[in-house]
């Protein structure tokens, strides 16, 4: 898997994190997933500041973003990412429980690259995560400057 891109996962629910990582593991996609618990951390990671000041400055190949987050919520993160010249090319996929049209419209208006509603059924959930992981971490050619393993 020399073409596997790094995934930045922004998710505050540890159970969701565990289930998602489990799903990714099943397809050997989990080895380059960075998990952060809120929007502020996500922005810190991208900007290499705070807890992430020591990391190398490459961008992740894709951001999996939950919408309902503590401190800085998903839509705000999305807005900042898409407004920043350094990050606007990073593909962002919203991965949320919300099926509300309002959220969907707001996300697309901010320039999201994908919007996935987490299925309740675990099978479907695993399938969705796998397809997401495979597509964004393997099939999709990330923009220049992204971290490649």
């Amino acid at each position: 898997m020399d073409k596997l891109g790094r995934i930045l996962m922004v998710e505050d629910d540890p159970k969701d994190v565990e289930l998602t990582l489990t799903a990714l593991e099943e397809y050997n996609l989990a080895n380059e997933v960075v998990v952060v618990g809120d929007g502020e951390e996500a922005l810190d990671y991208l900007n290499c500041r705070g807890a992430f000041s020591a990391r190398s400055g490459d961008n992740p190949a894709v951001i999996l973003l939950d919408l309902k987050l503590p401190k800085v919520d998903g839509l705000e993160v999305l807005q900042e990412v898409k407004a920043d010249e350094k990050f606007r090319m990073i593909p962002v996929v919203v991965l949320t429980s919300s099926r509300e049209e309002k959220d969907m419209v707001a996300s697309y208006k901010l320039g999201v690259n994908g919007y996935v509603v987490k299925p309740v059924n675990f099978h479907e959930f695993v399938n969705a995560i796998r397809e997401l992981g495979v597509f964004w971490a393997i099939i999709n050619e990330p923009p220049p400057g992204s971290m490649k393993k």
Partner: protein, 505 residues
């Protein structure tokens, strides 16, 4: 001269003038008779007053011209009959003083009487004018009585001088009770602005309009729309104010009522809006927060099953399956409920919809459920309908999915979609199947949320489909109903007003 004041006697003017002179002659002749008679009986010196009387009478009644004639005639008669030489018009110097005195007296009488006549004529003229004016005023006043407006006139010191019938009807005071009273005290007027300001405006513009409150004879208060007009005298000085009032108490009451209702409506709307917001937040939280634990239950149950499948017996395996199935079912219920609540919350976006095309799309959408089934679709001619396309699509998906579901036990399912001839600007569309039908006894339960007429093991579903259909149709101003027989199929109808001719954006 009196005769001359009457326009219809101009034609007989000449005749009457002649007549007056004839009367003058007659007066002298009538005076001459008694004078001669008295002379015969030796009464002397009576002719002088008698002739004077004749002249005075003539002057009094027929004017100075005939009177002059009477003087001349009287003098001649005096000379002829009563002075020496008798029966001759010749007169001596001795007669002269008598004649002169007579003529002077007579002339004086004529002069006085002509003055009297002139004064009389002036008086009569003034009286006629006055009568005309009175008649005119009376007519005007009675005209003012015809109007339903209440009108009264007051002088500059606010004393009422005129009070029409409308005012009597409105305030309950008769004119004789009102006239002479000070209007503001009498009616206990409540002004919308200081009276000084109103007066100023009235003097400036000559008029004023506004709303006043007055108190009637029975003590009740009336609101009037009041119009004041200033009347000015000959030299431009303000002389009177005419006040015209219309009773608008009832109108004001209604206005107040409407204002109150509007306020209530506004506050209710705000309340409703707040409730809606609350509901939206609630739905959002269901959507987001209730689904997460379900996903976790389902996820961990599956992980557990995978990990422990080797050690679990068949019964435990089934328990694990049940947990997952229940989680899935609850997820479906939440999704359906959310979809249902969303219909009530989102605005309809109307456009002209080709229902035939929409039905074909809906059939395509239920294709998964029709796999391996023998279904005959009969699609009749369907009208175009002005409505929200995505909502209407949901209506047909639900109805067709129902039809497909409840014909499952038939070797050949027949599903018909058609339209009934309806009134103008209304559509009636039906979906008919030959499925298991239902008992009409329960028809009212069909469209309720979570209402089911069949056990979920036989026919799966959350029981929200028909409630969704009903809500969408209602949002289009229409209604739904159903007909069915147990084991003989069911027909679902929707009717709705159709405004194709005048679509609004």
């Amino acid at each position: 001269m009196r005769a001359m004041a009457r326009p219809d006697s101009y034609s007989i003017n000449a005749r009457s003038a002649l007549l007056r002179y004839v009367f003058a002659v007659a007066s002298v002749v009538i005076a001459l008779g008694p004078a001669l008679l008295l002379q015969y009986f030796k009464f002397r010196e009576v002719e002088f007053p008698l002739f004077l009387f004749a002249v005075a009478f003539t002057a009094w009644h027929w004017g100075s011209g005939p009177a002059a004639l009477a003087i001349v005639l009287s003098s001649a008669c005096f000379d002829y009959f009563f002075t020496e030489p008798l029966y001759s018009l010749f007169f001596t110097v001795a007669d002269l003083p008598g004649i002169l005195i007579f003529v002077s007296f007579a002339a004086l009488i004529v002069w006085f009487s002509s003055i009297r006549r002139r004064v009389e004529a002036q008086l009569l003229h003034a009286r006629d004018q006055l009568q005309l004016e009175v008649a005119e005023r009376t007519q005007q006043a009675s005209l003012l009585n015809l109007t339903h407006d209440s009108i009264f006139v007051r002088d500059m010191s606010d004393v009422i001088t005129y009070w029409n019938r409308g005012a009597q009807e409105l305030y309950g005071w008769a004119p004789e009770e009102a006239i002479g009273k000070r209007s503001h005290e009498f009616l206990r007027t409540i002004f919308p602005a200081p009276i000084e300001n109103i007066g100023e405006q009235l003097l400036l513009a000559g008029r004023w309009e506004g709303e006043l409150k007055h108190t009637r004879a029975d003590g009740t208060q009336v609101v009037v729309a009041s119009r004041w007009s200033l009347r000015r005298g000959e030299r431009g000085q303000p002389s009177a104010i005419m006040e015209t009032n219309n009773n608008i108490t009832e109108r004001k009451r209604r206005e107040d009522e409407i204002r109150g209702l509007n306020q209530e409506l506004a506050s209710r709307s705000t309340e409703l809006e707040a409730k809606n917001k609350e509901l939206e937040a609630f739905a959002y939280s269901i959507s987001h927060d209730l689904r997460a634990p379900l996903r976790h239950m389902s996820g961990y149950a599956e992980l557990l099953q995978k990990k422990a499948s080797a050690v679990l017996d068949a019964k435990s395996q089934r328990y694990m399956l049940m947990i997952q199935e229940s989680a899935k079912r609850m997820g479906d219920l939440i999704d359906d409920l959310l979809a249902f609540s969303r219909i009530g919350r989102t605005e309809t976006q109307k456009s002209l919809v080709n229902l035939e095309q929409l039905v074909r799309e809906a059939i395509g959408e239920v294709r998964l459920e029709t796999e391996g089934r023998n279904i005959v679709w009969n699609i009749g001619r369907l009208p175009n309908f002005y409505g929200d396309r995505s909502m209407l699509r949901l209506v047909f998906v639900n109805l067709l999915s129902n039809a497909v579901k409840f014909t499952r036990l038939r070797p050949q399912a027949e599903i018909e979609i058609g339209s009934d001839d309806a009134k103008e600007n209304e559509i009636v569309v039906f979906v008919r199947d030959n499925g298991v039908g239902f008992d009409m006894k329960y028809v009212n339960k069909l469209f309720g949320v979570f209402q089911r007429l069949h056990p979920s093991q036989t026919f799966e579903g959350t029981g929200i489909g028909l409630a969704t259909v009903q809500r969408i149709v209602q949002r289009h101003g229409g209604k739904v109903w159903a007909e069915g027989l147990v084991d003989r199929g069911a027909t679902f109808y929707i009717s709705a007003p159709n405004h194709i001719s005048a679509p609004k954006p």
